[in-house]
């Protein structure tokens, strides 16, 4: 299927291609939203979001008995850790011990460049 391009104007070629890329990724975005919408395993949204109440300084308050993390079925520990880290990062919890934010962080593939800024305590 060898085509002769419909135009030789670089600008038009750029616009066409860019448009197709955007269309594809926008559709993909809606597909992800659809997956989330139909997800039979997702947690129902909770009425009161407790996390937003604790102040930033409470990060170190380990003596206080922190509630066990709510573990949904089907969510991997990494995700939980990541979420906990996000919460911790903004000062809402004193309970997270160690965090692997994303798996690329720990794969040897990229081991030459390491950031440890997110590892806490």
């Amino acid at each position: 299927m060898e085509h002769s391009p419909v135009t030789t104007n670089p600008l038009i070629i750029m616009m066409i291609n860019m448009t197709v890329v955007f269309i594809v990724l926008v559709v993909l975005m809606y597909l992800i939203k659809l997956i989330h919408f139909i997800d039979p395993t997702k947690e129902k949204p909770k009425p009161a979001q407790v996390e937003e109440e604790e102040p930033l300084v409470a990060v170190k308050s380990e003596p206080a008995p922190a509630p066990a993390p709510i573990i949904e079925e089907g969510i991997s520990p990494e995700i939980i850790a990541a979420i906990s880290a996000a919460i911790a990062a903004y000062g809402f919890s004193g309970q997270v011990k160690a965090v692997h934010i994303v798996n690329h962080e720990s794969t040897p593939w990229r081991s030459s460049a390491k950031f440890n800024t997110l590892r806490r305590k």
Partner: protein, 377 residues
């Protein structure tokens, strides 16, 4: 006397068949290029896993009389077969898929738009390349450097402009390593201090259902729309399925270790071995390197601009700095977003948020490659 005569003749014969007797200035320069690349790979640590074998392959390819490219099969020719028939890049993607966590993208799917916007660099470079005189196939292959995605660049180049493969691969992997130098100035220039200080809301949890269904659905949708990248995207998503299914850890482990390492050695060596003096030592190569930089900067800018737009539209919920991560170069570009964010406001952890556009950029570049292949092939 016979002995001495035979002796002289034999030494002469060895010399005549040696690489020294056929050595060209071009070979010499290319070996120097290879040494420079080795230096970049091993001392400067520019993507050493790929650039190391590429550099070594470049050196090997420029020894005369080795017979690597002759009629008879040999190990280097077998490796070359895997390059010219696009066998290696999908297998690399199988391993990359097994290493990739799409959760940040699934938690905030709008970051796909940043992964799309960052592809503007690809097309800016495409346009630029056409303007400076490359034909549209070459221009597309050059543009893909801006995608900051090695296997996709190699895949597209072998299909559209195999004679430029070496230069494009080298440019792609070099700039990927230079992301921490290229991006920050652009990021600081294009964003305000207030924007950079934006703290983003934590990501929602992502279920296993989402993580398993996403690679399947995206494979079906994208492969149907853009069949030329079905192999590449299919392998990426199959590797991701191995990772996420929870019951194929054996395959996930092998895909991201033994298999990807073996294929990386072959891909690098084979790519390097396309770097002949005639193909590489041309003004075009400098143009390609220049255009590659334009592409990277364009992609960074594109992602940032769209980040600013999203920032506005969400009433300041999106920090535009994560836009630049849309060029992919996983996870380097996301780390750059984080670093620049932390400099603007200590404690502003953007890494996880930037991983969304970052992995979206991988998909975006594959889609851009598919689009160009669909139009040009």
């Amino acid at each position: 006397m016979e002995a001495l005569n035979a002796f002289t003749v034999s030494l002469q014969a060895v010399w005549n068949d040696s690489g020294f007797s056929s050595f060209t200035v071009g070979n010499g320069i290319m070996i120097l290029v290879g040494l420079l690349l080795l230096y970049m790979a091993f001392v400067k640590e520019f993507e050493p896993l790929l650039l190391g074998p590429i550099a070594f392959g470049c050196i090997l390819a420029n020894f005369p009389n080795t017979g690597f490219f002759g009629e008879e099969m040999n190990v280097m020719k077998a490796i070359n077969f895997g390059i010219t028939n696009e066998i290696f890049p999908p297998l690399i993607f199988l391993g990359i898929g097994a290493m990739t966590d799409f959760s940040p993208l699934l938690a905030r799917p709008s970051t796909l738009l940043l992964g799309a916007a960052a592809q503007v660099g690809v097309f800016v470079a495409l346009g630029g390349a056409m303007i400076v005189g490359f034909d549209v196939h070459e221009a597309a292959a050059i543009g893909i450097i801006g995608g900051a995605d090695g296997p996709t660049s190699i895949y597209l180049s072998t299909k559209l402009a195999p004679h430029l493969l070496g230069a494009i691969a080298v440019a792609a992997y070099s700039y990927m390593s230079l992301v921490p130098l290229i991006q920050p100035p652009i990021m600081k220039m294009m964003t305000t201090q207030a924007e950079r200080e934006i703290v983003m809301k934590e990501l929602r949890p992502v279920t296993k259902f989402e993580r398993v269904v996403f690679p399947i659905v995206s494979t079906i949708f994208i492969s149907l729309l853009l069949p030329p990248i079905a192999a590449l995207l299919g392998c990426l998503m199959l590797g991701n399925l191995f990772r996420e299914s929870g019951v194929t850890d054996r395959l996930s482990d092998t895909a991201q270790n033994a298999l990807i390492n073996i294929v990386t050695i072959f891909l690098g060596l084979g790519t390097g071995m396309t770097m002949s003096a005639e193909g590489f030592l041309r003004a075009d190569t400098l143009l390609i390197i220049a255009l590659g930089l334009v592409a990277f900067m364009g992609g960074t800018a594109g992602g940032l601009i769209f980040g600013k737009i999203m920032c506005k539209m969400t009433g300041g919920a999106i920090n535009p700095l994560i836009g630049s991560a849309g060029v992919s170069a996983v996870p380097m570009a996301a780390r750059v977003s984080q670093l620049v964010g932390m400099k603007a406001k200590p404690g502003n952890y953007l890494l996880m948020h930037a991983m969304g556009p970052n992995v979206a950029g991988v998909i975006g570049t594959a889609v851009a490659a598919g689009t160009m292949l669909a139009m040009l092939k």
